[in-house]
Amino acid sequence: MIPELTSAMGAPRVAAIDFPFGRPLGQPGDASTQREVLRATLEALVNAAAPSTVTELPFAWPEPVGDVHWHPKEPSPIARLLAQKPALFKALIAGGIPVAASHRVAN
């Protein structure tokens, strides 16, 4: 849902869409938009001619950004932790994924 991130990770063909997190195909019950988004995505697959092609799909979300709800009911565990411990956030954006990310149970 963040085309720059998907592309930076090496996806060969990216279809970018301006829809909020959690609803990449459209609103619940809007089968028509969902179908057209999927069709346009598959057309982007067919039309891409070289690695790193990003195709921006021409769909507009029906709500203003300020009205869009997508966050979970309770903050994610990492959001809660970084809010409690800002030093961890600073260390992360300084370039370090902690080794705890590699182990189910942190030491």
Partner: protein, 168 residues
């Protein structure tokens, strides 16, 4: 790029995502490129969702370990049959509101829409198996070394020509 997904994100999340973008994929290998082997109207297509979906009869994703260690994300995957609907699905992603896809699965895993495109002749066929994993993986190495090869093997057994990867 005129699309701006960052407008939905907090400054904290934006800074983290920009850090991940700057870090890149962690490999110098060239971006893979596989031409589509046959026209879309003859191709078998499968879907992969990052929404941590599992069927109610399958094992749940491990959200308890992520709550205990917020840096970690479950690197496993689940198979979702092509016939699955909202009523068959549990959603375990802790970073989005799952209510929308539980109301209408096609907002994140468009199985019915893909089936309609098959019946319209736009796509050749829909694979029997579709896939989901949990997209919050700060260290994706275990996912890449275990889940990805297993999904690829299943896709090869089902003669899949194209994969629509659907992030949430």
């Amino acid at each position: 790029m005129t699309i701006d997904s960052f407008k939905y994100l907090s400054p904290t999340s934006t800074a983290i995502i920009r850090t991940l973008i700057a870090m890149g994929p962690g490999t110098e290998e060239p971006i893979p490129w596989t031409p589509l082997a046959r026209p879309l109207s003859a191709a078998t297509v499968t879907l992969v969702s990052t929404a941590a979906l599992s069927t109610k009869t399958d094992m749940l994703f491990d959200t308890e370990s992520e709550r205990a260690n917020p840096w970690w994300g479950d690197p496993s995957y689940r198979i979702i049959p092509r016939t699955a609907t909202e009523g068959d699905i549990v959603a375990s992603h802790l970073h989005i509101d799952n209510a929308y896809l539980l109301r209408d699965l096609d907002v994140a895993l468009p199985l019915r829409r893909l089936d309609e495109l098959v019946r319209a002749g736009f796509v050749g066929s829909i694979a029997p198996s579709h896939y989901s994993f949990q997209g919050y993986l700060l260290d994706p190495r275990e996912f890449l070394s275990t889940s990805v090869p297993a999904m690829v093997e299943q896709m090869k057994r089902e003669a899949v020509d194209a994969v629509v990867f659907v992030p949430v």
